[in-house]
Symmetry: C2
Subunit: 398 residues, 2 copies
């Protein structure tokens, strides 16, 4: 029998407590039982069914040799970082959904875990309950992954789906997302792409074997997507999705970024709607593989945490650890050099030559023109529209 | 360093040889190198780049203590069964794409492997390069899986896609599939659903923990799907797909079957086209998860075999073994008892009462009527149309 402590009794933490209850009978039957022994939170929860497990003092967990698994659902990189280090140092494996901490200090925490002979696992930090990390690290571990691109943030996908399906403008769709509880009161991390950026950092680190820092990933959110772009995308048989993408060159180069893209209907990812997430992986042998499911939410995220605990219980810490090395300056090349077709909407200055080589006019409104370009880099695209007022410029994935 | 032998130099076997070449540098760099030492085939391949590895005598492999991995791509349950038993008995792990052998003798071979302290792995037997089995067995290993349904056969999905997108009749679409090399000269195993049935057997065995025999799975193929059904399905916003499905009851019951279904456009699986496969998994905590990719083909299938070899090399045979117990008579309950809405097309006898409770008329042609029913069992559906000439009766998934 294993004993676990949950740090932080918020949405995810309480979901883990519930999921352990739901699954504990089956896990115990498989000989891999996990008992929840403590919940650490500074707040009081006198009416919770788990009230008997509550403590405010992490030191109690730290000092209890029976506890071998610690679940960190505090979030952020302050106290969560400190408690994770202390738990690993005390010889306890740590499981988390904290993407910010993993993306920022992952290699340091993994090295500490290895040093102490325990594990630091974080399947829940990307894709909620969908096993994206384990698929990349183990199931496709022998595959030469050429690139991935994915819808990695549910809030922005909900907003874009509302814009597409119901013609709702961005600001109103955001209000809806907040009313539905999909987005925080401060939605910046979602709509500016920072949440997706952290997930791209984690996936890229896992694939490349070295920590890719979030600040190396050029990140643009969806605030610039207008209903006019939605209409124009539909003319091209496309939807608009916020994608996190990384391309791994044969020369070892890594080009990672987050930005809105047009996706043709022939690519299955274009049909991923509402708060659902999807990750497309392009491998040299396997071709295109996609993983799809709820990327957030109490029970799906808790499910991923329990799956990490299950792996720890089942495999006795062997062979399943996520691992990458320290960050190296210069790991990431300029993502702008990647060539693709572009969708560009602009207000032309008087006399601008509308017909240019490599530009196809797709829509003409009173004050704006929309074009699809031939395949070119970002710099070439910008040169083609030099001096003009560009309103939107999104890559078209293929 | 590990040494592997490939049995059978057909499409998949030669793909494994190539994939090991593509990936061997990276695997060796990770400390998990695998060298291909023998290829066993009764035929001569004097012009193959692998001619130097060829042997006609399996006993050479069996007697070589350096060979620790054997890849069986012979197919069928004759000589493949014998060689697999002999390889496991000689203390070699065996990796295969042979779904027929796994679905028929899986529990016996897994028990033998366990007895000899080696592994019998078969990720490639379901979903080609898409890691469906490892996802079910490990990544969602702590999840209570309520049901799965999937497009598990590429040939039939190609035929149905041709019928939907291009209005091609079944017989012509089948000829196209054969011309494209997607289907064997004898297409029975594909179009009658036997191939999908074996994959349902393997997935159900892995989830339930006991061997589910293919003959316990009610199986119907796509030969009865007419262009009229395609038109009617479109009226309902649905596509028609051949699904393999299993529902796992809270009481431990298993209801597994293969049949054409109508799938609404709101379910992502309805957009899986051509030869691609998709598996929907419904878990109690995780919700809906889908895995998508090429379900067959030389390199994708070889990729899955190499991923099994990689797991063996990396994990030193620990913790990753697929496992289930012996078959138990009565494991499967009648899938007909599952309730769902039905699509039914019929030639009514004169005077048949067209308006019935629970039946909604959706199309009326000269000689046939098409209905959507309320949710009911197969027996209830059949009773509703008793005495009539039913041309098509497909469940509508939701």
């Amino acid at each position: 029998m294993h004993y676990a402590a949950v740090l932080g009794f918020g949405t995810v933490g309480s979901g883990v407590a519930e999921a352990l209850q739901i699954n504990t009978g089956r896990l115990t039957a498989k000989g891999e039982g996990i008992t929840l022994k403590y919940i650490v939170d500074v707040r009081d929860f006198p009416d919770s069914p788990f009230a008997g497990l509550m403590t405010k003092d992490f030191a109690v967990v730290e000092a209890d040799p029976e506890v071998d698994f610690v679940v960190e659902t505090i979030g952020g990189i302050g106290i969560a970082f400190e408690f994770t280090k202390r738990a690993l140092t005390a010889g306890k494996s740590v499981v988390t959904s904290n993407k910010e901490l993993v993306a920022t200090h992952g290699s340091e925490l993994m090295a500490l875990a290895k040093d102490k002979g325990v594990s630091y696992l974080f399947e829940a930090s990307v894709g909620g309950g969908v096993p994206m990390l384990r698929t990349v690290a183990n199931n496709l571990g022998s595959e030469n992954i050429k690139e991935f691109f994915g819808i990695l943030n549910g809030t922005t996908n909900y907003i874009l789906t509302q814009m597409f399906k119901n013609g709702v403008a961005f600001a109103d769709a955001l209000k809806q997302a907040q009313a539905m509880g999909y987005s925080e009161a401060n939605p910046t991390a979602d709509i500016e792409g920072h949440d997706a950026c952290r997930k791209v950092a984690i996936l890229s680190s896992l694939i490349s074997g070295k920590q890719i820092k979030p600040e190396w990933i050029a990140t643009r959110g969806i605030t610039g997507v207008a209903l006019e772009d939605v209409v124009n995308a539909e003319k091209l048989g496309c939807t608009i999705k916020l994608l996190g993408r990384a391309v791994f060159g044969k020369d070892g180069s890594i080009r990672a970024y987050v930005a809105p893209h047009l996706i043709p209907g022939s690519i299955l990812l274009s049909h991923v709607e509402d708060v659902m997430n999807g990750l497309f992986i392009r491998g040299e042998s396997v071709g295109d593989v996609m993983l799809y499911g709820a990327g957030a939410g109490k029970l799906p995220t808790a499910s991923a945490i329990v799956s990490d605990l299950y792996v720890l219980a089942k495999d006795k810490l062997d062979g399943e650890q996520f691992a990458w090395g320290d960050p190296e300056e210069g790991s990431c090349s300029d993502a702008g050099e990647l060539e693709s077709a572009w969708y560009v909407r602009m207000c032309p200055a008087d006399g601008w030559k509308r017909e240019q080589a490599g530009l196809e006019l797709i829509a003409e409104a009173e004050e704006s023109l929309a074009y699809r370009s031939a395949e070119m880099s970002q710099a070439a695209m910008e040169a083609a529209f030099a001096g003009q007022t560009v309103l939107s410029a999104f890559r078209i994935i293929k």
